[in-house]
Amino acid sequence: MNILMLGWELPPHNSGGLGVACYYMSKALALKGAKIDFVVPYQAHHPDARFMTIHAATKLGPLHRNGLMGSYDSKYLKQIGLNEADSVALTDMRGVQKRYVEFVEEMVKNNKPDAIHAHDWLTMEAGMRAKELTDAPLIVHVHATEFDRSGEAFGNPIVHEIEYQGLMMADRIIAVSNITKSIIIKKYGIPADKIEVVHNAIDVASMGEHSYDRRTYKYLESLKDEGYTVITTITRFTIQKGLTHFVRAAARACEKHHKLVFLLAGDGEQRDELMRLSAELGISDKVFFTGFVRGKQWRDAYNIADIFVMSSVSEPFGLTALEAAHHNAALIISRQSGVGEVLHSIFRYDFWDIDVLADQIVGIATSPALAHDLKANIKHEYARISWSDVAHQCMQMYSNMKSGVTV
């Protein structure tokens, strides 16, 4: 089974969950015998990816995969072998996408895949073109739609248009949750029976065995010793993530119980607004900002959490919730987050309902029994979700379509 996998990023060059999901899905598929050609828009070394063949659609470095944006010098261009014309063509995201399509066109000329598997709007145009040229079935895998990314706003009309075309042209659609499936049905008018829900998973083995030394966030640890509860979220600070509601709920919760601290790990365009809001609400000494975290600082942001909150306004899945569960945190997840569909021992709330969230936070913080049960029970739930099951569902889909399209 030859699969042409069209993606935009892979670890360690990822900016978020999309790359992680693509990586583990491909790995699990390879274990089930799939031969995968994975196309990314940039050139870089990918360690631990020998189970598939990675193709670079441009000579850009991973940092420039969304376009050069003027942030380069001629020395850099020379070094990676690009000329002046290239630098103009690859200025922005649309330019890079165009090159990506041309690269895929070239690639499929003498190499017809059994299925084309395209991830998100970024690669949908390339997927449609490959289908046109080869007549191979196209699977569009939706990790997030523009409606999710834009939070409570409308989003970019060009992206909406590409998503609409891609969803229309696809032979099958994979949605990462029922929430995403219903967005595809309601917003894009796609028939329900064309869409299959395949939830993401967590690769527990990759999280590894590690010892937690309680040193990364030493101040927070000493607060815990004094009976404080640490409430963490690890995310991009964008409108999609609903963090202003989270901060307002934090202030409400502090009115009822003062031994609470909030760790906001990550960075993004909303950071200043969140800092201003915390000060306005009089809780800025209870809200901690880490900036962008990787490695140990990232892992320990989970380790120190008593409660992990996913406050997203619209979250197709939400892998970080599973990672938090793995690190022994109690989970509070907005009803608008897909990961809640596969977990039971969690609290849920509507992203805008700060009173409910505040109540849940105080409830867990003041009841050791409740906190203990949530943590213990979630362990049994997240571990059951595996990438191998995801790969199994995909393989079945590829096979069915192979026979289905030879009319």
Binding site: R215, Y219, S222, Y228, C254, K259, S284, K286, T290, Q297
Partner: protein
């Protein structure tokens, strides 16, 4: 008849800027003021060395020359404790040159808080401790007593005047702001309400700001300003009065206005021209008070500062972040003082320096006047973040010291 005189008062200050002190440093290391990156203006040593070369050394040399050449030339200086500590480490020769100036007997040292803080508005006790620390330091370094007071950022109100009067100061400095002066001129000595002996000197902000802010501004209609023109203005300003109070940052000379703007030559020439007229002289702040009767009473119930078009404290306390930062900082006072731990107390006080909250000011976002402000941080939010982390670390050290609770979120 008393001569017409200029009261030249220069303020010397450098804060101890907080480095990029993250949540990961909190409770681990206590070196808030020790930025390792030598290429950034958060690095205190770098700034001090730079300003010493550009301003303190050449300006002190010029002041010394003028004192030598003109027996009537005089100047008053306020020098903060945070500046002195840094100069002791990185530019001891600059301190020696200040000592030489004071030794002439024609350079007066003005009193203020050691840490250039806004403590007056938060804690009278802590405020007085810092005034005393500063007086001690001045005694030790220059062997003189101070008798005129200025508060941080020239912040002033009637209550402060009453305090200074009771504390024994004979003079106090403030901004000569039009909405308060109305028809009156800043070129006289005044009396604050409900006081016994103290006198008030008001900054002539037009003539002061011509040098401090406008001197090198090429869009200013009067650019380039010549010593002749400025002499004319000063003489015109003083026709029916006896004083011109020129109050400004010392760093105006060489740092705010670089040497290549001609500020040093301008100043030397202006002093000569002013003193060419035998009716003209210079006064130190206490001389100005001793030689002149108060013209009347001036009341400032609300706090006035020398900053911005608002002349209030909004650049330091205008937003929630600034208020939170200082509220939490001063809340620690009793516990901190009780430790008797010099290092901890000193770090806590260094965080009181008003510059820290100034860096958190966001009001220029609405003014569109970003360039009027200087900050070594990328944004006011960064300044707030590092400050709060440092403050939390102070709490942590406090808890370590008292060996029981005391941490806060």
């Amino acid at each position: 008849m008393t001569k017409r005189g200029i009261v030249l008062y220069l303020h010397v200050h450098q804060p101890l800027r907080v480095r990029q002190y993250s949540v990961f440093d909190t409770a681990e290391r206590h070196d808030y003021f020790n930025e390792p990156d030598t290429e950034t203006d958060r690095n205190n040593e770098r700034v001090l060395r730079k300003v010493a070369d550009k301003s303190y050394r050449p300006m002190n040399a010029l002041l010394e020359k003028l004192l030598h050449k003109h027996p009537e030339f005089k100047v008053s200086l306020s020098i903060t404790g945070t500046f002195i500590e840094q100069a002791e480490k990185w530019a001891p020769d600059v301190l020696v040159s200040f000592q030489r100036l004071v030794a002439t007997g024609r350079v007066e040292i003005v009193s203020e808080t050691y840490y250039h803080s806004l403590a007056f508005f938060y804690s009278r006790e802590e405020f007085e401790r810092q005034v005393e620390m500063h007086r001690d330091k001045v005694r030790q370094l220059f062997g003189v007593e101070t008798s005129v007071f200025r508060n941080t950022e020239l912040s002033y109100n009637d209550e402060l005047a009453k305090w200074a009067d009771g504390y024994g100061f004979k003079g106090i400095l403030a901004e000569g702001w039009d909405p308060i002066l109305q028809w009156r001129s800043p070129n006289h000595v005044y009396r604050p309400p409900n006081t016994d002996n103290i006198r008030l000197l008001l900054k002539n902000y037009r003539l002061s700001d011509d040098l401090a802010f406008r001197f090198s501004n090429q869009e200013w209609a009067q650019w380039p300003l010549s010593a002749d023109t400025y002499s004319e203005w000063t003489n015109a300003s003083i026709t029916d009065s006896s004083l011109v109070n020129l109050f400004m940052d010392y760093e105006t000379f060489g740092e705010h206005q670089w040497a290549d703007t001609g500020i040093f030559e301008f100043f030397e020439s202006f002093v000569g021209k002013w003193l060419n007229n035998p009716d003209n002289t210079f006064y130190t702040t206490s001389e100005a008070i001793d030689r002149h009767e108060a013209m009347g009473e001036i009341s400032m119930p609300n706090t006035v500062t020398w900053a911005d078009s608002e002349r209030d404290l909004t650049a330091w306390l205008g937003n929630d972040m600034q208020q939170e930062a200082l509220r939490h900082l001063y809340a620690l006072e009793d516990q901190i003082i009780r430790t008797g731990d010099d290092e901890l107390i000193s770090d806590w006080r260094k965080l009181q320096t008003s510059d820290h909250v100034y860096y958190m000011c966001t009001k220029w976002f609405t003014d569109g006047d970003v360039h009027a402000y200087f900050s070594p941080y990328d944004s006011p939010y960064d300044a707030f973040l590092y400050f709060m982390n440092a403050l939390r670390d102070v709490r942590y050290r406090l808890m370590e010291y008292h060996k029981h609770g005391g941490l806060n979120g």
